[in-house]
């Protein structure tokens, strides 16, 4: 069973600009949590804060059910230089162990790598350069990297960005599989219909936490416009945060 994550008055401020303020919520264990909201609203920052990659204030705790498990992270993108001879397989092996790439490839490592690549449908492209792949294909490989340690907590930032249909299908089947296995998933995703299909928990973030609830509740037709609006609203009764006065649009 995946962990639950508690956030208590989390804020993220750089110099004069606050990207997140007063975020308090509980991400239940074993569920798929989708973070939605307009661009520049702090979704990526929230994800990165959960991972400990930002200088946030406040408290974030991960409550593991038994022993401390593994975290898998799929970032929005990574820059792969086209001329660097780093193959897909190289990249996965890089993530797996210290066993240097310039030694003869370890068979077990290679098998594990190919396994994960198969799950995202990239096994046949294992020997292509990362820089030669399309954006969507690179995303798939990034996803495969996150699966290496059999994580109980999976955090994904816009994982289907630039993906083709095939990639999206692989992604959705894997997410469904994980949800079935009661892993905790936190994902920034834009595809409303996919989110409805998953019937996930939706958290709308735009500097503050605007709303949290089941997909069927939050993604009602009349609320959709609010979801992607750039102007930060006063919260509704469902949330527990007080409104904050904004001086500038955080875009």
């Amino acid at each position: 069973m995946g962990p639950s994550i508690s956030l208590n008055n989390v804020s993220l401020c750089y110099e004069n600009n606050c990207i997140l303020t007063g975020i308090s919520t509980q991400l239940e264990a074993g569920q798929c949590h989708v973070i939605m909201g307009p661009n520049g609203g702090g979704k990526t920052s929230l994800l990165r804060s959960i991972l400990g990659l930002t200088p946030f204030n406040g408290e974030i705790n991960i409550h593991w059910s038994s022993s401390k498990g593994k975290v898998g992270y799929v970032p929005q993108k990574a820059t792969f230089e086209p001329s660097l001879p780093l193959t897909v397989l190289d990249f996965i092996l890089l993530n797996q162990s210290r066993y240097p790439l310039f030694f003869k490839t370890n068979k077990k490592h290679k098998e594990n790598a190919i396994e994960q690549l198969k799950r995202v449908g990239m096994a046949d492209r294992a020997l292509l350069r990362m820089g030669q792949l399309s954006g969507g294909e690179q995303q798939r490989v990034l996803f495969a990297q996150a699966l290496l340690d059999d994580p109980d907590l999976l955090i994904l930032d816009e994982p289907t960005n630039g993906m083709d249909d095939q990639g999206v299908r692989y992604f959705e089947s894997l997410i469904t599989e994980f949800v079935g296995e009661k892993k905790t998933i936190v994902v920034v995703h834009h595809d409303i219909s996919a989110v409805r299909r998953l019937d996930a928990q939706v958290h709308v973030v735009n500097g503050i936490l605007i709303e949290s609830g089941r997909a069927s509740e939050v993604l009602k037709a009349e609320k959709i416009e609010q979801l992607f609006s750039h102007y930060r609203h006063a919260p509704t009764q469902q949330t527990k945060i007080h409104s904050v006065n904004r001086k500038s649009e955080a875009a």
Partner: protein, 184 residues
Amino acid sequence: MIIQPVISENSGQEGRWIAFLCVIIVSIGALLLPQNQAPHEHVSVDSHQISISDLSVQRLSMIADLRLAHEEVRALYDDTATWQSITQLAEDWLAPFVQDKSWEHQGRHHWLQIGNGIYQGRSEQSGGGYILNSQHREVDVWLDLNGEATSIEMKNAVLSAQDLVAAGWTQVVFSTKNDIHHRD
């Protein structure tokens, strides 16, 4: 149930580590430096000689120039068996013969070729001077330490050390580490 607090990222540590590392490097350097000192050869010098390590910076720079000039003179002699004249040396922009700003700074020495491959320079200002003897492969430099040496007039083709000593000149002794030979 294990609660794992997520640690906020702050980079205060980095500065301290780097400062610490720098201190360690400088300490190691300071510790090992005495182990790697160039050997100060205590060349025993006669009364008419002076060791190069005892000379002032200004004298050292003049002598460095003379050593370069010596190599030019030897090069020409090896090829053509003639000795460069002062005019030629000045035309070739060789210090200390060419009369540029550094010539003024070094004391405005006027040079004369007093013998085959022997050049004497006397300063306008301080009355000091130098003699460059390029007759042999090894450079031979004499200087007028106190401004009291008399100028040399050559009677025979060869200049002997006694003549120089008698006239009040002091011979510069180069330390063997200082590579007075050609590199190849």
